[in-house]
């Protein structure tokens, strides 16, 4: 099976992605990750204004069969969370790079981005 790995994203080896735009990043989990988890039924996220730290867990994505911690690809302050996931957590399955995003962060340190995987490196990791 092959999974979509958008070219414009940066990845963490624990299967989170970051879409960076001018000091700001949107964060979610990869198509591979949602497929591994199966039907997502619950997402627990920090509130707006909370801080997240690169490499540390900031919430959980829960499927029918498993609970999985989610890790922050970048450090910063949460500026938005995807409220739609409260009622429709399955968006993480249906559109992991689009409507199934998790949160947005104001970056503390853009140099952290250098530690993330590019699409090719991430593709190698899940191959």
């Amino acid at each position: 099976m092959s999974f979509e790995i958008p070219e414009d994203l940066r990845y963490l080896d624990s299967h989170e992605w970051a879409r960076v735009d001018e000091g700001h990043a949107r964060v979610g989990i990869s198509e591979f990750a949602q497929d591994e988890l199966g039907d997502v039924v619950f997402v627990e996220l920090p509130a707006e204004g909370a801080t997240v730290t690169a490499g540390e867990d900031f919430g959980v994505v829960e499927s029918i069969k498993a609970v999985s911690d989610i890790y922050a690809p970048v450090s910063g302050t949460v500026t938005a969370v995807n409220d739609a996931l409260t009622e429709t957590p399955e968006l993480v399955n249906d559109d992991p790079y689009g409507d199934g995003w998790l949160l947005e962060v104001d970056l503390d340190d853009e140099s952290e981005l250098d530690d993330l995987l590019g699409p090719d490196a991430y593709a190698d990791q899940i191959a």
Partner: protein, 363 residues
């Protein structure tokens, strides 16, 4: 340890199944998605490979006597073509496993006066138990562990009868619950029983491992993995051996586990005297349902507490119910906890409001 593989392993691999280790077997956990598979069984029909279930064939003049003395239900009066659910207990009445005991019709080509079906990974242990007691009691019976050379396929759901009926000349709609017959299903000889683990009408078919692929193909419909099997059984409050009771980790008797309907104290079996005492004295804890009112998914090992945080018990099985859309769990709770009472389930340190129920969760 090398995992045991069902005869359909290659078929599942081709079918894109995700596999998991269950009871020492490498089995499909998910083919499409648990929700899709679960809904197929609740609304139409699904098929499961359950070849990980054990199969012990017991034959000989004392086959019935031996088996009857090792299970809690009275199976001595089963006629050919009948089956019964029972627990297997030790001397102290603690459940070692649960099982369905079949009395296969004589027409079945497998030599089995009684067929005992223990859970995945329990076949060797139960084979030893049957043979040791046979020797101890000096009984004349042969016990044959046929787990590896028999396949088992479950076809479950409201449309299971129609689906299966189209492939066999047996009128499957005529079978009552726990009745079994020998049926030709698309050219494959099967022991076809009206049994299951989903709460839906359905059938379980036992056939030679050599015929597994032909049988699986013949009953073509939504393939379902152990993930959906677990959510389906949990919605019905059915026990999972090793998880909702375990002789070492969580020893329970059938009265605590709500399966005292399968205890016949008029029958002589190992554990009977201890269970008579339990029957008279009652139990302190009993398996209850817990339904989440707050958002959250209860999981095995989570604490159940009062509203004030006093511990009441521990979740043995829990999931998000695909049918109900909220969290459901089983937990042994003090018998004074009344159904309807509001409790808390600690979900990752957060107390979530929940309500005690009596399973099944589905009406």
């Amino acid at each position: 340890m090398t995992l045991r593989q069902p005869p359909l392993a290659a078929v599942h691999e081709d079918g894109g199944a995700k596999l998991t280790d269950f009871g020492g077997w490498e089995m499909p956990v998910e083919f499409d998605s648990i929700r899709t598979e679960h809904e197929a069984v609740r609304e139409s029909v699904g098929r499961f490979d359950v070849s990980h279930m054990g199969q012990l064939a017991v034959t000989g003049p004392d086959a019935g006597r031996l088996t009857n003395r090792l299970v809690t239900n009275d199976v001595s009066d089963l006629d050919p073509g009948e089956a019964n659910y029972a627990a297997i207990t030790d001397e102290s009445g603690v459940m070692l496993d649960d099982t369905v005991v079949y009395r296969p019709p004589e027409a079945w080509s497998v030599d089995a006066d009684y067929l005992v079906v223990p859970n995945a990974g329990h076949d060797a242990e139960m084979f030893d138990r049957w043979t040791a007691h046979r020797d101890e009691w000096g009984l004349d019976a042969t016990v044959d562990n046929r787990t590896e050379d028999l396949a088992m396929v479950a076809v479950q759901g409201p449309d299971a009868g129609d689906r299966l009926g189209a492939e066999t000349d047996v009128d499957v709609g005529e079978l009552s619950r726990f009745e079994a017959t020998v049926a030709d299903v698309a050219g494959v000889e099967t022991l076809l029983a009206r049994t299951g683990y989903t709460g839906e009408p359905g059938f379980e078919l036992i056939a030679s491992a050599d015929d597994a692929e032909a049988l699986w193909t013949a009953v073509d419909c939504q393939p379902c993995g152990l993930g959906a099997r677990d959510t389906l059984r949990l919605e019905m409050g059915f026990l999972l051996s090793g998880q909702d009771f375990h002789p070492d980790d969580d020893p329970r008797n059938p009265y605590e586990a709500n399966v005292d309907f399968a205890v016949d104290l008029d029958s002589e079996f190992v554990g009977r005297d201890a269970l008579e005492g339990v029957d008279v004295e009652g139990v302190d804890e009993q398996l209850r349902g817990v339904e989440l009112v707050d958002r959250g998914v209860p999981r095995e090992g989570y604490a159940v507490t009062t509203a004030d945080g006093e511990p009441l018990g521990t979740v043995t099985s829990g999931t998000m119910s695909p049918t109900l859309g909220h969290g459901i769990a089983l937990a042994y709770l003090p018998t004074e906890c009344e159904p309807g009472e509001t409790v808390r389930v600690e979900v990752r340190g957060e107390p979530k409001k929940a309500r005690i129920t009596v399973p099944p969760f589905l009406s």
